[in-house]
């Protein structure tokens, strides 16, 4: 009971601040979209109140999460090189269904973006090939700047992220198998690279940075978050930085999500929702486990006094 209340307080602190900051930033972004861009041209109004306040709140949130992560109690110092499995235990919690369910839902959200991306990419590819064929015949045709290849690759990346997230959820459901952090988290991280390239390419000619910078920052934050997540199982654990990145992913994704919904960019919206949900799941499980790491239980029939390895950990499922 005591442990439960302690866990609740650590979770509450991180989730409360991250969700509150995300909600405030999303509301500010909505205000900015309504007031900080000129009608007709869509150019940013210099020094618009909404833009200034949103920037300040984002910077303050980042600073606040740095403070929170520095003050995050941890029962063990960061592990040395080679001791990869030690930190896996921070994701061990056999009786808690919130984390695995959230991550599995996030996996399906990522997968759902593929059907939204694929037809667009294929259509762009066909248009590009038609224009090329027309040019080859000597017709005066403007070659489209987008050949659709990156959009198709982003759809493939979304499926890659789906597999990685599914494995992360599975690791959460079956503690004791392999790493609880899961190297599979690197898959959505790599998929993020493709998504980032596609998003930058789509906006490279846009002179209004406010139109796309929040999306790019959200994707970058998500990529780094997934990579730090994978680092937990690869002997490169940075639990405090992981907490900070999870919180920032949640906040930046909330900002970018507002624009994605307003622009009806459903694929981006689904991918942003997916990484937000994973970040929230990490904020749910990681803080209490860093403070009070779960103790591996004794395996029935094993010698008394012997600590079971993580590989031998029994499962409740």
């Amino acid at each position: 009971m005591e442990r439960l209340s302690k866990n609740l307080s650590a979770r509450t602190l991180w989730l409360l601040f991250a969700l509150a900051a995300g909600f405030v930033c999303a509301a500010l972004r909505r205000w900015q979209l309504a007031s900080a861009f000129e009608e007709g041209t869509g150019l940013a109004v210099p020094g618009a109140q909404a833009s200034v306040i949103l920037t300040c709140v984002l910077v303050m949130s980042a600073a606040w999460f740095v403070i929170l992560s520095m003050r995050q109690p941890m029962s063990s110092p960061p592990c040395a090189a080679g001791q990869a499995r030690r930190w896996d235990l921070v994701f061990l919690d056999a009786g808690d269904p919130v984390y695995p369910i959230s991550v599995v839902v996030a996996a399906f959200l990522a997968a759902a973006s593929a059907p939204a991306l694929l037809p667009t990419g294929i259509s762009q590819w066909q248009d590009y090939q038609k224009a090329r064929a027309a040019l080859a015949q000597g017709l005066s045709v403007q070659l489209p700047s987008n050949n659709g290849a990156l959009t198709i690759a982003t759809a493939a990346g979304a499926l890659l992220a789906f597999l990685g997230l599914l494995q992360m959820g599975r690791d959460g459901l079956h503690p004791g198998r392999r790493g609880k952090g899961g190297f599979s988290a690197a898959l959505p991280g790599v998929a993020g690279c493709i998504w980032l390239m596609e998003s930058f390419r789509a906006h490279a000619a846009n002179p209004v940075q406010w139109d796309y910078a929040p999306l790019l920052l959200a994707i970058m934050s998500g990529m780094m978050f997934y990579m730090d997540f994978a680092g937990i199982s690869a002997g490169a654990a940075r639990p405090r930085r992981l907490l900070w990145l999870a919180a920032m992913t949640l906040v930046l994704s909330a900002v970018a999500l507002v624009s994605a919904i307003c622009d009806k960019a459903w694929a981006d919206a689904l991918l942003l929702l997916s990484q937000s949900l994973t970040a929230a799941a990490v904020l749910w499980r990681l803080p209490p486990n860093l403070e009070h790491p779960p103790k591996p239980r004794q395996i029935p029939g094993s010698k008394p006094g012997r600590t079971p390895t993580i590989q031998e950990e029994p499962t409740d499922e």
């Binding site: 041209t41 869509g42 150019l43 940013a44 210099p46 029962s75 063990s76 090189a81 080679g82 001791q83 990869a84 499995r85 030690r86 235990l89 700047s145 190297f183 690197a186 991280g189 790599v190 993020g192 690279c193 980032l196 390239m197 930058f200 490279a204 000619a205 846009n206 002179p207 209004v208 940075q209 796309y212 910078a213 790019l216 970058m220 990529m223 780094m224 990579m227 994978a230 680092g231 199982s233 690869a234 002997g235 490169a236 790491p293 779960p294 103790k295 591996p296 012997r306 600590t307 390895t309 993580i310 590989q311």
Partner: protein, 207 residues
């Protein structure tokens, strides 16, 4: 402090040498863990580099491909140019990359002829551009300027505040501020200043 290390990690040298042989125990190779960590670190470098590149391209500088003949002979179609964005304020004579969505969604490359408050007069008869009544010395233009197909267009104007007047160096094959669909350009439409031709290498030069 609770013990939450696995046995293997606590005793990495266990079983590496025979007991009592007096030899210094050799560490058992942990190839699997090392390979996994190396792979992870390589992937992380890729992700970090990608993020840094996109951050730099978004806020500091980027490389764009020139399309079309409008800036010949200074720039040619297919040239890769380095464009500086951070803190750039357009100045007369600079080569700039801008996007005017009333004309096309892709960015275009032009030269700044006049900035806010300056008066521009394009004289097709004398093949001269006047800024504030003074003729510009333009050694960069490709050929003599003729009256465009769309007529004189915007050829006699005072540039409003926060705007620039741009023209291509290949005056007879350039849709620029003279063309009504483009017109005077808001400086917020400017992505950055062309700094140098990066590729092809034999045409490398500062702009």
């Amino acid at each position: 402090m609770e013990n939450w290390e696995s046995e293997v990690e606590q005793n990495p040298q266990q079983g590496a040498s025979a007991p009592g042989d007096g030899a210094k125990p050799e560490a058992k190779p942990r190839r699997e863990a090392s390979d996994g960590r190396d792979l992870y670190l390589n992937v992380r470098v890729l992700v970090v580099m990608m993020s840094l590149f996109v951050l730099m391209f978004t806020f500091v500088a980027r490389i764009i491909v020139v399309s079309g003949p409008s800036m010949e002979n200074t720039l040619h179609g297919g040239d890769l140019i380095l464009v500086w964005s951070l803190g750039y304020v357009p100045k007369q004579g600079d080569i700039v990359v801008l996007t005017q969505e009333s004309y096309q969604e892709d960015s275009i490359v032009k030269r700044v002829i006049a900035t806010e408050g300056q008066h521009v007069y394009v004289d097709y008869v004398r093949n001269t551009v006047y800024v504030d009544g003074k003729p510009l010395e333009e050694d960069y233009t490709k050929e003599q300027m003729f009256l465009p197909a769309w007529g004189e267009g915007v050829n006699n104007v005072v540039v409003p505040e926060g705007c620039i007047f741009v023209m291509g160096d290949n005056r007879n094959h350039s849709a620029d501020s003279r063309f009504p669909d483009i017109g005077i350009v808001d400086i917020r439409c400017v992505i950055g200043r062309g700094m140098a031709v990066m590729f092809p290498f034999n045409r490398w030069k500062g702009l």
